[in-house]
């Protein structure tokens, strides 16, 4: 196990209990997540699969405290985040959760290193140790020669890896990824799966939302659940 990835979580886990999330689309009500209960074991890699519109991204948002469920509960590392005020939830999320979202990946006008250190700005910016660690992680994931280039110049696979490194900036207990292998070729899928396995082996809890069988069928995945119309299938 690589030293740069080592993580010692106390008891990291995320769970939702009887969670419901409804949206209004004009007069129509959409139930994205419907009375869903799910717990993710500490130090495991869970794949949430299902067709488009099945509620995977919404579930990921609820698991990470990014989306507040209409009803039910969501707990991150033992603490319910549903009733936390916005800034407390943001702080808790920043402390414990790293997000990698498919389309909200990197800020194109910033360099890869700047993107990787961006989560640290509200905490007073990156120290020299933070910069050194980010550089080491980027190099570890094959981005050593891309550190100072603008994110817009990266390939799809490089963007995903850089986004994962950014999600590790605060050394989170839980990593949530939305479609991390979409639009990637087989080589890059293998690299991303390898990364996730390394991070899981280092002690992190990982949840990926994906409809890519190259990912959810990979041996590194400990468990896969299927979501259909907001419910576990």
């Amino acid at each position: 196990m690589s030293a740069v990835l080592t993580h010692q979580p106390p008891a990291p886990t995320v769970e939702v209990t009887d969670a419901v999330k409804r949206y209004r689309d004009g007069r129509r009500e959409i139930v994205a997540v419907d009375r869903l209960t799910l717990a993710v074991d500490a130090g495991s890699l869970l794949a949430v699969t299902g067709p488009s519109g099945s509620g995977k991204t919404t579930l990921l948002g609820i698991l990470g405290g990014l989306i507040t469920p209409t009803s039910g509960d969501a707990r991150i590392c033992g603490r319910s985040v549903v009733r936390l005020r916005d800034h407390h939830r943001a702080r808790w999320r920043r402390a414990h959760v790293g997000f990698v979202l498919q389309d909200l990946a990197l800020i194109d006008g910033m360099t890869v290193l700047e993107n990787a250190l961006l989560p640290l700005a509200p905490s007073g910016g990156a120290s020299s140790a933070d910069v050194a660690q980010a550089r080491t992680r980027l190099a570890h994931f094959g981005l050593a020669d891309r550190v100072e280039v603008k994110a817009r110049t990266l390939s799809g696979g490089e963007r995903q890896r850089a986004a994962i490194v950014r999600a590790l900036a605060h050394d989170p207990d839980v990593l949530l990824l939305d479609e991390p292998t979409a639009h990637l070729d087989q080589d890059n899928v293998s690299r991303v799966v390898g990364m996730l396995a390394e991070l899981r082996d280092a002690g992190r809890t990982i949840v990926v939302a994906t409809h890519d069988p190259r990912l959810y069928d990979a041996p590194a995945v400990d468990r896969a659940v299927r979501l259909v119309d907001g419910r576990l299938g």
């Binding site: 990014l66 603490r79 389309d103 800020i107 961006l118 509200p122 910016g125």
Partner: protein, 412 residues
């Protein structure tokens, strides 16, 4: 429970510096839009600041001049025209209580075709005073200082010239200058020195000569004067003396405080009207900025979504946006103030001086002495920065409170 963020809770200054750093990067990423706003703000600030600086410099000029003016000045008007006044008429006024002295002043304007402007010739009594700074206040000229190499006139047909006038005439100490006489001839004067003064007006057009030379140049016979200057021992007697002086035949009495009020009203009103006329420009710019700032581009929504997703709080996003707006406003205001300073004090307030001066035709060039107070700079900067940052608050708040869920769905 482990809480890495709590472990690395930052000091407020460190957090601000980090968010400022991010805001600087954001400024660079949106440089086109921000540059356009900076230019607009600089232009508007520059317009306001030019009016303010020019008015301030003129106020300083007339304050200096009026401070040096006699307490009371008595002129004679005949058929609506200024006329010479007998010096003997001052004798009665000199006996009034509170009056220190009354003396006739000999001064007037000579038009010099070579520079296309008037020279103010002043027959100065202070020229035979001891060496040092020349206190000519009794003649209506602020304290002047001789430049090195010069001396006071000792004889007739010698003159001291204001530095700017000497430069316009292309002469210096030791040179000669010919001034026209009423008999269509010329009097040749030796320039014995060049003086500077705190008042730009006086260095721009004043020639100090002996009283005798002034009478020759201006055609003022002995016993007559251009006006009577009354200096008071007790300023409280000013109105009494003025009322008494007004009884002289054809008298027009000017009190120093009255002059001060007249100048203040004139320049204050002109500057005020001009500033009021510029207000719509500021309003238009702020409206434009509001329009530009309220519409979040797709890239900005995406960026805010990313920030919220990676753990930025609403206040972090809001602070960064406020830094961004504040930097844009500060840059625009600073550029505008610098531009206004250069416009007024280096380029003679081109395009603006005619509106405010009114008498600019008298001076081919008038380099105003810079007079800018911190209060003025603060007022102009506040006039631009405060409204701009204020109108940035709402869009910044809207941006900062963007629900990450919305951002997620917008980007999905």
């Amino acid at each position: 429970m482990s809480d890495p963020v709590r472990r690395r809770r930052p000091s407020a200054p460190r957090r601000q510096v980090a968010l400022l750093d991010y805001a600087l990067g954001a400024l660079a990423r949106r440089r086109g839009r921000n540059l356009a706003i900076v230019v607009g703000l600089a232009f508007t600030t520059g317009l306001f600041a030019s009016v303010l600086f020019l008015t301030s410099a003129l106020t300083r000029e007339y304050t200096r001049s009026i401070d040096a003016a006699p307490d009371v000045t008595v002129q004679r008007v005949v058929a609506g025209r200024p006329a010479l006044i007998p010096e003997s008429e001052g004798a009665d006024l000199a006996s009034l209580r509170g009056v220190r002295a009354v003396h006739g002043r000999v001064w007037g304007y000579l038009f010099l075709p070579s520079i296309g402007a008037n020279v103010t010739v002043i027959g100065a009594r202070g020229l035979d005073a001891p060496a040092g700074a020349i206190d000519l206040s009794v003649d209506g000229v602020p304290t002047a200082s001789l430049l090195p190499g010069g001396r006071r006139p000792r004889a007739t047909n010698e003159a001291l010239l204001g530095a700017r006038l000497a430069a316009n005439l292309g002469v210096w100490t030791g040179d000669r200058v010919a001034l026209p006489t009423p008999s269509h001839g010329f009097e040749t004067l030796v320039v014995t020195g060049v003086f500077t003064s705190e008042s730009a007006v006086h260095t721009a057009d004043v020639a100090l000569v002996s009283e005798h030379t002034a009478r020759v140049l201006l055609g003022v016979p002995d016993g007559l004067a251009t006006d009577l200057a009354i200096s008071l021992r007790n300023p409280n007697e000013r109105s009494v003396v003025a009322r008494r002086a007004a009884l002289l035949p054809g008298a027009r009495v000017l009190e120093r405080d009255g002059l001060r009020r007249a100048y203040a009203l004139t320049f204050g009103a002109r500057a005020g009207v001009l500033a009021a006329a510029l207000l719509p420009t500021l309003a238009a710019l702020l409206l434009l900025a509001w329009d530009r700032l309220t519409g979040l581009s797709a890239a900005e929504r995406r960026e805010i979504g990313i920030l919220k997703t990676i753990g930025w709080e609403t206040r972090d996003v809001l602070t960064a946006r406020m830094w961004e707006s504040g930097l844009v406003a500060a840059a625009g205001a600073a550029l505008g103030l610098i531009g206004a300073y250069a416009h007024v004090f280096w380029f003679d307030a081109a395009g603006l001086s005619g509106v405010i001066f009114g008498w600019s035709a008298l001076y081919p060039t008038l380099a105003l002495v810079p007079s800018v107070g911190l209060g003025q700079v603060g007022a102009v900067a506040g006039l631009v920065i405060v409204p701009f940052v204020a109108i940035s608050v709402v869009p910044a708040w809207r941006a900062a409170t963007l629900d990450p869920d919305q951002a997620l769905r917008a980007a999905a």
